[in-house]
Symmetry: C2
Subunit: 117 residues, 2 copies
């Protein structure tokens, strides 16, 4: 797959998008409400940033009933995957990324991506 390098990095250059990407890279598919809860930001804010990630093809979405699950686009070029992997390794034990996973883990009534396929 092809991708503009600067545009790719512009997507990583925002806290909301970066935290969403790191969380998806670690946890796999996540729906908007899970991301909203994990990051502790407003729903429109998450939604807008996810739309931007989708437009730039960093992520893909899938509707499952009332939920829409987002995941890292598996068709990203190899170097982009490598960049994301290196980032995750480097920052996953730092804040706010660490706290995001904790908040996600304690979320009540969490929809299960696997069961809604």
């Amino acid at each position: 797959m092809n991708i503009d390098t600067v545009q790719f990095y512009k997507q990583l250059a925002d806290e909301t998008r970066l935290r969403s990407l790191v969380l998806m890279a670690i946890e796999g598919e996540l729906c908007v409400c899970e991301l909203t809860h994990a990051l502790g930001v407003s729903q429109p804010k998450v939604s807008r940033h996810l739309a931007q990630l989708r437009e730039n093809r960093l992520v893909r979405d899938r509707r499952a009933g009332q939920w829409i699950f987002y995941r890292i686009n598996p068709e990203l070029p190899g170097w982009a995957h490598a960049v994301l992997e290196a980032t995750v390794k480097g920052v996953r034990h730092r804040e706010p990324f660490k706290g995001d996973r904790k908040a996600l883990a304690t979320m009540p009534n969490r929809p299960d991506a696997a069961c809604c396929a």
Copy 2:
């Protein structure tokens, strides 16, 4: 070394800065006039972006006579180096990065970083 992740990616999210970083990652130390020539942009533009990279500690500078040589900061955290390496591997054979190296190679009166130490 410590670095803010979003701030790091903001530095990569601009064409002039990204081209400069990729060129430095491949060629090693470069002075402002070499970057100006290679990228084909104005001197103040290059200088301003290099200053920003220095302020965010992505690069270090070294004065050698009338020239100031910039290089990737070797003290960047490992994951940041990995990100840069992956990027270089992925984009070095694409434009404009490929052309930047060609323009640098054909630059007349190029100062030699090694001889000016």
